[in-house]
Each structure stands twice: as C-alpha cells, then as structure tokens.
Symmetry: D3
Subunit: 271 residues, 6 copies
C-alpha cells in the first residue's frame, strides 16, 4: 500500500518557460530508460520477489522513490510549458522565426492533448510501454538490468544537463545525477554479493548442461583480428578466454520438409 | 557488408514435431531478450561506435554470430511445426483432447500467417520492437546492457531447457547456454576494464556537477528497515554507503500556474 | 454494408497551404481521441450489439457519419500539404529561417511516405492503434466511453481552432465542434436513460457480491484533507459518501512461496 | 513523494494455484482498463492539475490507492502461479489432457520471462501502453474518462468474478467491485458539479464558434429509422434534439491538386 | 460521405458456436493482412489520390466494400462466441478436458473485454495498427501493395477454410475467396496498365540518376550458386540480368569521427 | 551462419553534417518500408522456405545484401550527426534562428538516447516493428510483397534524393536506387514464372471452393460510374471482368442472440 506526501523530493522550478526543453525531458520521464521504467520495474520486481525479504524491501524502497521522480519531472515539464506559443495563429511560413522554431521543436501533443502537461511518452511522442521492463524472478539477472537502467538513465540526464543553461532545470538534473550514482552503486554491490554467493554466470545452476567446449571461446566472425587483444586473460568466472580465428559450422545446410498442400499451395513446396 | 554461409552454426533438428514448444521458442527468437534483440543491438552498437576500433570489431563479431542464432532457432521452430494439426476441422468442444490441447497451446499465426514457419514475434505473438534495444554511444553503459541481455536471455534458455525432454531441442539449447556463458564473461570483462580506466559510475565525468551529499545515501521509503543490512560498507566507486532512516522532502508542495483560458476552458484552472 | 457518396459532409478547403497545421490535424484524425477512434469504436459497438436494436441502429448511424469525418480531415490535410517545401535542398543550418521552421515543424512522413497525403497516425507520427477503442457489450459502459471520446475530441478540436487564423480550417473545425456537441448530448441522454432503468453503477447486478462497507468511502491517501470537501453529500447511486481519514490495510505483509529451483536458480528464492 | 507500507490493502491469497486464472487476471492488471491504467492516469492528472487544489488532492488520493491495487493483483497472480506445470516435459500431444489444458491456457511468459510472477501486460501478453491514458488538463473531460475507466474496469472484474469458484480470488474481486462502486460515484458527482458550474458540453466556452444549426441534429445514415425514438426530447444541455431523416452533404466532391512531379512520378498525378 | 445499409453483403451464420474458430477469424479481421487493413488502406489511398479520378473512384468503391467485410466477419465472430464457456468456474486442472481445451484455445479478451464480440485485434490479441497500411501517392507502388494484400489475405482465408467443417463459416470464407480473386485481378490489371504507360520500375523517372552499372546485377552473397539459374534472361524492364559471382565492396572500412566529450564521456571515443 | 566484412558495400560520407537529413534518412533505415524491413523479411523468408532450394538461396543472398544496406545508412546517419547542436544551451525563443531550426528539425533521440548514432526507428522515432514483415510460406504471395517493398522503398529513396544537394548523400541514394531497380526486376520475374506455373491467383488451388459467380465482378459502391472504364476486358487470370452497377446484399440484417446475464448485465441484452 502506498501513501502520498504532498511535498516534492526536490525542487522543480525552471528559471523560464522553455517548451522545447519540456519535450526533451519527456525522454527521461516516459522513454525506454526514463523514470516510468525504473519506477514500474522496481515495483514489479518487489511484488514478484520470492526470496530474501531484505531485497524485496530494498527494491520497493527505491521503486517508491522513483514514483516521486516521475512526479518531479512531470511538474518541471508542466512549468516549462507555461507560455508555450499555443495560441499562435500564423502559418509557419509567415511567422516570426523564433516562434516558428519553438513551434517546430515542441511536442504538439503537449498543447493539443495534454493542455500544457506532461505525457507518459518519450521525446518523440511514443507511448511508454510495459515491454521496457522486466522482473524475471532471478535476482542477479534483475540487478544487472537495474544497474544498466541507472547507467543509461544517468547518461541521458547528463546529456540533458549540457543542453540547457536554465539553473532550475540544471539543479533538478544535478539531483537526479546524484541519486543515479547511488543507485548504480547499490545495484552493483548487490550483484557482486550474489556473484560471490551463487557464481558469476546467470543462471547459476546450468553449467553441467551446457556445451562446455564452446563456452569461453570468441569466434572471429570478420576478417582481420582487431578484437583479439580484447579477448585475453581470465574470464570473470575464472576460466581462461580462448580466441577462435574462424567461426565453426557445427551443422550442415538445413533443408526443411515440404508442408501440407493446403498450407503452401505451390507444387514444389508441398508433399 | 555480410556474407551468408549455408551451414548452420549448430544443429536444429528436434526428435519429434511439437507445435507447443515451437511457440515457446518464439520467446528467445523475437521476445524482448531474444536473439533478434542481441543481434540488432550489437550490430547497431558496432555501426555507431566512435571510439576504440577493437571494441567495434568485437561487438560486430558477436552481432554477426547472433544473426546465425536467429537462423538456428527459426529453423528449429519450422521443424517443430511439422505435423501441426492445421487441418483439424472439428470444433474444440468435440475434438480429441490431445489435439485440442495442441491447438489451444500453439500459436495460431504459425499456421494462418506463416505457413508453419517462425515469426518475428514473442511467445504471445507480440511483434519484435526496435524499442527493445539501445546503442547509446557510451561503451560502458552499453556493455552493461549487453551483460544484462545475455543474463536474461540465458535465464530464459535455461527455463526452456527444463520444459522439454526432446534431445534435439535440448542439444541446441545447451549450445546456446554455452555461448551465453562466453558472452556474459566477455561483456563483464570489458565492463571491468572500462571501470578501471574511466571510473565506476556512468557517465564518467559528471561527478563535479551532481548534488554530492545525496549520492551514496539510501532513503528508507517504507516502514521497518529490512533493507538496512544490504546497504552497508564501501560502494563500488569507493565511497561509503549511508542509510537514511526517512526520506527527505527537499521541496515544498508544487502549485502550477493557471493556463490560458482556451486551453483549459474551466474558470478555476485558467488565468 | 456501406455505400460511398462522393460529396463531402462539409467543406475541406484551407485558405492557404500550411504543412505545420497539417501535422497538428493528424491528432484529430489518427490520435487516441481522433476520428478514426470514434469511427471504429462506434462501428464495432454496433456490430457487436446484442440488445435493443434501436441503439444498434443509432450507434451505426453515428459510426457511419464518422467515416465521413475521417474523409473530411484527410482531405483537408492533403490540401494543407500543397506547396510543402519537399524539394528544398539546403541543409537546415544554411536555409532561410522560414523554410527551416516549416521543415522542422512538419511531419517528414507526409512527404517521404505519403506523398503529401494524410496518414493513419497522430501528430507525432505514432500509428493509430486498435487498443484506443472498446466495444464491451455493456451499453452503459460503452456510452460513457463514447461521451468521453466526444469530450476529449471536442477539446482537441477547440484547441486547434485557436491555433490558426485560416478561415477554411476554422470553418471545418466549427462544424466538427457542432457535431461533437450533438454527440456529447446524445450519449449523455442514453446514459441517463440506462441509469434510470438499470441503476447508476456499471455493471448493474453485482451489488450483492461486493464488500459493501467500503463501497462509498474515500480513503485519504495523503497528508492533509484538501479533498474532504469534495466528498460529501449523497452519491449518484443514492447512498451517502463517507470520508476515511486514513487508509486501512485489511491484509498483512505478503510473503510469496519460494519457487522451483530451475525457475529461480538462486538458493534463497527456491524450495 | 510517496511512501510504501508493507501491508496490502486487501488480502490476495487464492485457495489453490490456478495458472489459467492468473493469465485472466492480467487483463485487470495491465490491460487497457486495468489498474495500471487508472493508477497512471490519476497520477498524471494530479501532477498536471492547474486548477482547484481540492481536485488535485483527490485525484492523487485515488491514484495512490490504485498503486496498491496493482500490488494486490500482482501478488494474487504470483500466488496463482505456484505449481504451474513449468517443468512438464512431454509434448502436448502425449500429455495428460489436464496438464496440456493448463499449458495451453496459461501465459507462457509467466514461466519463461517472469519466473512465476506478474507482468505489465494484458491477458494476451500485449504490453501496457502509455496510450491507454489521458490527462487533458480539462477537468470535466478527464473525470468523464475516469468514470468510464471505472465502468469498463468494474465490468471486467464482475466478469472475472463469475469465472472462478476460488473463494480467495472472489473475495479480492469483491473488494475491487466495492472500490470501483465508490470511484464511479465520486467521478460522476464531480462531473455533475462541474456541469452545473461550467455547462454540460466540453469544453465550456466554444458555443459561440460552432455551426449551431447542426449541433443538436441526428442524421440518419442508414435506411429505416429505428434510431428515431432514441433521439427525442430535450438534450442534457437544455436544447431540443432534432432528427434529420437524411444526411446532408454540405460540400461538393473533393478534387485534389496535382503534386510536384518528383513526389508522384506518374504523369497524371503531377503538375 | 458514407451510408449504412442494414443488410449484410453475405451471410454470417455458423452452424454451431465455436469460440476457438472465433479467435482464429480475428486474424482476417484485425491482423496485418485482415479486412481492417484493406478497408483503411483503400480509403486512405482514395482520399489522398491526386491523379486520375477513375482510380480514385475505383479504390473508394473497393474500400467501401471492405467496410462491409469487416462487418460480416465481426458478426460471424460474435455468433461463434455464443455459448463460450465464460461461466466455467473450475480450475483448468480439474476441468472436463473438452471445456479446458476451449478455454485454452479461445481469446480471453473475447469474454473479459468484449462481452462475446469481435475486437480490432489479430488472432493473438495484438491491436490493429495504422502501421499496417500505406497510401504513398504513387499509384503503381500502391496497387502493387494492394495486390500483395489480397494475396496474403486470400492465402489466410484459404488456410482457415481448411481448418473447419462448419458449413456456415466455410460459405462465408468461400465468398471472401471469390472477392479476393476479383481484387487480385483488378489490382494486377491496373498495375499492368500503369507499367505500360509509365515504365516498369517505381518510381518512373529516376533512371537517369541511378548507378546504372549495378541496376541489373545479382550479387551472390553466399557460397555456391544455387540462385544462378533463377537470375537469367531479360528482366521485366527490358534489360538483361547479370549474375555477379561475388559481392563487391565499393567502399573502405568506415571509421567514425570521435564525438564531443559530454556525449560519450569516455576518453577514447571523444575529441 | 553469417560473416562480416569490414568494408562497406558503398560509400557513406556526406559532404557536410546535416542532422535534419539524418532524421529523414531514418525512414529508409527503420521505417515500415526501410532496409531493416527488407533485411528481416528476406532472411525470415529464406529460413522458412520449404520448397525449391534455388529460391531459398536467392532470397538469402538478397537478405544478406540488405544487412549491408542497413550498415551503410546507419553509417551515413552517424556522419550527418557530426556537429549537431547538442550542446546548445539557450532556450529556442532566444536562439539563433538557424540553430533553432536544426534543433526543431532533428530527432532529439539522436542526441539524448543514441549519442549521435542511428536508431532502429523511423523518421518520427517510432520503433521498427516485426509486424512490418511477412514470411507466409507461399512463394508467390511473398515475392509480390517483396516487389511492393522495393517499390515503396525506392519511392522513398527517390523522394529523399530530391531533398538534398549533398553530393555524398545523393551518391549513396543513387546506389540504392540502382539496387532497388534490380530487386524490383528479380521479384517481378519470379512472380511471373510462378504465375505461369501455378496460376495467377494466390493461393493456387482454391478455385474450386470459391463462389465463382462473384469472383470477377466489380460492385459499384458509390454514385456515378467513374470507375467503369477501368474494369473492362480480360482479367490477368483469363476470365472477363464484369461491372455490377449496384452492390448486392446477399444476406438479411443480422440480429445477434442475447448473451448470458452476467456478461452484459442489462436486461435487454441478455437471455
């Protein structure tokens, strides 16, 4: 169960309206790696958690924090949309170039659909999708995904940070940078703990079933061997890497059986 | 530029047809973490790579290998669909229960749309999406994603391995398990190299801009402190973790400005 | 069965070409609440209608009218695209700012994909989706949705009305405003008739099954009680509202069973 | 900002595992009208609210409650998935019919992707989409949508209620039925208040601009006049309805200008 | 503008209810190549047509007919859903195998969402998408697409024809087979007319710009030359085919410039 | 199995950076008819091919070539993004109009998400979808789709050719124009061979089942008979066309049975 506190976790006031920046911020709200993704992903991981209750609690703590991040960015977007040129009536050809540029660069749905509010979409207006997230039930697989999400997410925040000189926006992004730093650290720490306990490879207990003679070899699928110097030494799971100069085809050319006539309806593809 | 070799990388012959298993294998072909995802992700990462050419070569090697994995699984699916009950004419109510179960459990598009072939979709028929992948231009962010993809992917392969006793299918899955083991190892190895060179947090050069007093603290967003024992010691980036017993609201309750009348059209929400 | 009349229901001639306005009009053509949505929604509701044939006829009347609205807006978009700067060859950096603004603000698919015609997409180019509509088989649930669609739709038309001074476009929008006024009225009228006949709550016959002691209470899920004054008096179904100062947790903290080992593959999450 | 309480709002324990019911419950979790939709919709409406703070508070209260409903259903799904036949190895043809039926009727992603947990998808595995929701900034338009969502949602809950005899599942659904009853009442009450204050038609201030002679007329777009008796009396906005026996074409047949030659590339379609 | 006639173009009455067949028919209603696709595609092509008015009329004729095909199949699906086991209450494990098979094989949304009616989705429940269709403005490109749609569509109808022995369903499919035969013929006939008038290659007027020395050569991108005997003789545009034994790389290995530091944030990928 | 050659098939170097052109090129990379579509479509068709091995080889040859086309365009996009104004900090209102126009016209995800690289999306940022392609198992249906894809694709390339005066971009497009010319020719040639062998209509063997008296008639679904002169003479399958002045309704008005009460819950729609 959840409770709402009216205060924001961090301030969300820009120095000036900027509808084009509002559009760009949609990426870290409703994009593939935005706050809606981490919020929903951590909540589902917590609800589905079948193991150690400490992790269930922790992932729900952070998921709950992320709801507040969505709130914070949505509020910022609404404020950046103040004074958007929504009532501008001239055709773009005849407009003042500055206004025309804002109209070209802003998200038209911010005005037409959302009445100057945030939308659950990315910076190109593509709706957020449940397919962006995963709660697999395997804790190590999932914290690796979480570490990834915080890495891609912080990267996007850092890029946005360099795209504006609005101090209010920069302050909020600086706060998000910091929280993402913590989140990268905690997910990596848990990953390391689990790797030490269960082994490096996910999932832990399949080693006996796999084709072990190809599980540390790099096949060189191109001409030249530029990649060779990367693949050397001991792999994280303790076995040595191997470099295969050429890919190997372990099977012959596949020829499929003909199908039933009323499926394929051409003589040469049917029985 | 790419060249096709007619031979398969590994064998793709099931012991018996099994249209229900064919549907399940669609998940590792066209699902969020299937082979189409790693194939396209690595190829885009390689094509977009602006830095060290050794990594560009390596990621293209593995991306090229993955095209062959899509081929291998597609071939297996086509063979598992042999003898699917596509010409069965009775209503399910009146059918032999075994046939009815196959018809209920197989993907109807395998017969109606694809003529007993594989589709670029997941085990529920949802089309593969470009939104499953990322090539961010930041190598560390991307290899973390790659490690994640190989972890989620291998997890799914391992689950499928336990869902059949068909030796041909198991052999192919055992081969994929092994390749995913190598791939997890190589992405983790590169991640470690880059962390040592550029620092642990992605992206590397934003530390000076962030709100440093909240970048290692866990806020406890729930009652009780089950999560406390997880957040202790030194974080991967070398700073100590901190545990905040309660979340802090750094900003007041947000109140948005009223909007222009012809946007909101109700008295209390407009200027 | 349907018949086409070549004449348009209303005129669709702009005073001047305006490719940026063409893009904006896509929202009311192929967006979530555009004419494709009401057209398809009413047609499916009519085709699926199992009850009173008068409603089946009425919803098909209006659905058929909406096909003509899609036609009208598509025609307007095609005309607004006349003289779009599709053959402009200079890079945006070096262009005349007015042309560059048009190029930035128009939908590139209007030129590249559709050859200066309308597309079945919204103002950001997202394809129309069957998931925008519902035909539930419950007439009251569906006319409430229809009233909503006409409300959101008319709101968008009204916003677009204020975004242009082109008299031809405004005239067409003024016609759509009027039809949406009628449509809001008729759906609300039917809703009222059905509420009087079957009861206010949808669906009608579940009252006996529900947990009646929580079916008129508002739980205050935040600090402060700003919302209190809204929740007072008698509810539309005739029972008094109640204000619960605090949310109640009727159940304990959930702990899930461990799963089978080959699903989760880590010791602490498995049996 | 949000806080998590570990207790559930209502109990989520089925009497027995039932993976097929787990799949069906996905519809009210991640479907078009499921709890993810109302949760996200109310939160976005609250965050974007520019007007009366009492409504902002109220919609956030209910949005916050809905996060707990997602939690409750996700927990139920995870428990219904206990003992799903995930390790069943025989082909469907050769299986025990009861097991084969469960395998055919359950969602394969529950096992392969989510490790016996809930997913952010509907009962056919289609991912939840941000396009399911709207926060338009017009309060009356939005509460009409909210009333609709609670009507469609409660309808689905009621149907599921009749699809099982598991007392634990029925109890949870009975609780949801009750909450949806309250929610339908409160949204309808606010709609009525706003209609009285601002007028019935959304948006309120466009009457002067519309083509008033067609704003209360029904056009009969089909043969026969079954629909006539529905369209009579006074409309909700106080004007009388009118019944137009035949549709009127106010404009002539549209002929588009030819396009530029390098767009259409065929002689008869270009200038 | 469109008019509805209450009669169906062809009968839509099955001999018996069959919810599993209802699901399969969704493919030709709301799938990639279903009737919603041809209906919307032809209508948009007609509305966007800038050239010869005879083609505009013809494509709108057929588009209008297709609305009636959607109606016909939707009606059939609703009837096949009569007596679906929607009130079955036992868990699948404990059910009668025949009922369990129907429950496993039917679309759960038919019951939960649509109340025993058709949905705008395919046989796996994926919503119909505007991305399935194209109206390009080039008539030859579009009639080739139309010929394709009628070919893929008729293929699916023919497969469904063999999947049932219900005479009512077969009769409707036999009617659709016939209409698709006509439609394939008419699109092919128009294509041939246009090829004779404007030339075979689409678009017509680019020959002077292309790299003519590679515009009739097949490059053999694999080992062996199985494909050689296919590529011989005179091509449809009158030039002879050529067989290139090996692919040619006309350009060197690409090396991208480093990017700006705050984009990539790792030393070796930045300026 | 596939091998990567480091050289590009054709050069991909623009004369100058142009981020707006980069966005437009996304259409032929990741759009409905872009190179990702033909690449994936031909590969799936090849892998699923059950008939004549010569066609399997040929379609895989061309599919393999198309992987190289994706590579070529991705490389071009990355180079066009050099010097995009990603670090521009002023709000659009206050910017230099030339920079503002570039910012408005470029794809924000090119900077925020992809770090100046190509994305698997179209020119509006919509992700590439597996639903764009088909491998039906019927060779004639599929080569007709392939011919269509090369026609729509070449049309888009030709339009882009006229949208720039950058010689490097034009050269690459001129190469693609030529390859598409070959591909249109080869697919049409195979189609003709198959039509001669199996008959014109797809699929070949259903003639006996269809309602033959309506399989060559055009029904005039609109007023006037503009379309009449198009439908005359002998159809491609050898039968004469017929022109039906009016559509015929072969069936009466459909009335559906009432449903079970707990599905529809209103008196008049239930048994």
């Amino acid at each position: 169960m959840f409770i709402h506190k009216k205060e924001l976790q961090f301030q969300s006031k820009p120095d000036r309206p900027d509808p084009v920046m509002a559009r760009k911020l949609q990426e870290i709200l409703g994009g593939q790696w935005g706050e809606m993704s981490v919020m929903n992903m951590y909540l589902f991981q917590g609800w589905n958690a079948r193991g150690d209750q400490r992790y269930k609690d922790l992932v729900l703590d952070i998921g709950t924090e992320e709801i507040g991040h969505v709130e914070m960015i949505a509020t910022m977007i609404a404020r950046l949309l103040d004074d958007a040129p929504v009532n501008h009536k001239e055709a773009a050809y005849e407009s003042d170039p500055a206004i025309a540029a804002v109209m070209g660069g802003m998200d038209p749905q911010h005005a037409i659909v959302a009445g100057l509010g945030a939308t659950p979409r990315d910076s190109n207006g593509v709706p957020w999708s449940g397919a962006y997230i995963t709660a697999s039930g395997n804790l190590l697989a999932d914290v690796r995904l979480n570490l990834t999400a915080e890495s891609q997410g912080r990267l996007q925040v850092s890029r946005l940070y360099h795209m504006t000189d609005d101090k209010g926006v920069k302050d909020m992004l600086a706060f998000l940078l910091a929280r993402d730093t913590y989140h990268q650290n905690i997910w990596a720490k848990i990953a390391k703990d689990l790797e030490e306990k269960n082994g490096f490879v996910v999932p832990a207990n399949m080693g006996e079933f796999e084709v072990t003679d190809v599980n540390h070899i790099h096949y060189n699928f191109s001409e030249g061997d530029d990649s060779k110097s990367v693949v050397e030494g001991i792999a994280p799971d303790g076995e040595p890497f191997e470099y295969g100069d050429k890919p190997v085809a372990f099977a012959e050319k596949p020829i499929l059986n003909p199908g039933p006539p009323n499926m394929h309806a051409t003589k040469d593809a049917t029985k």
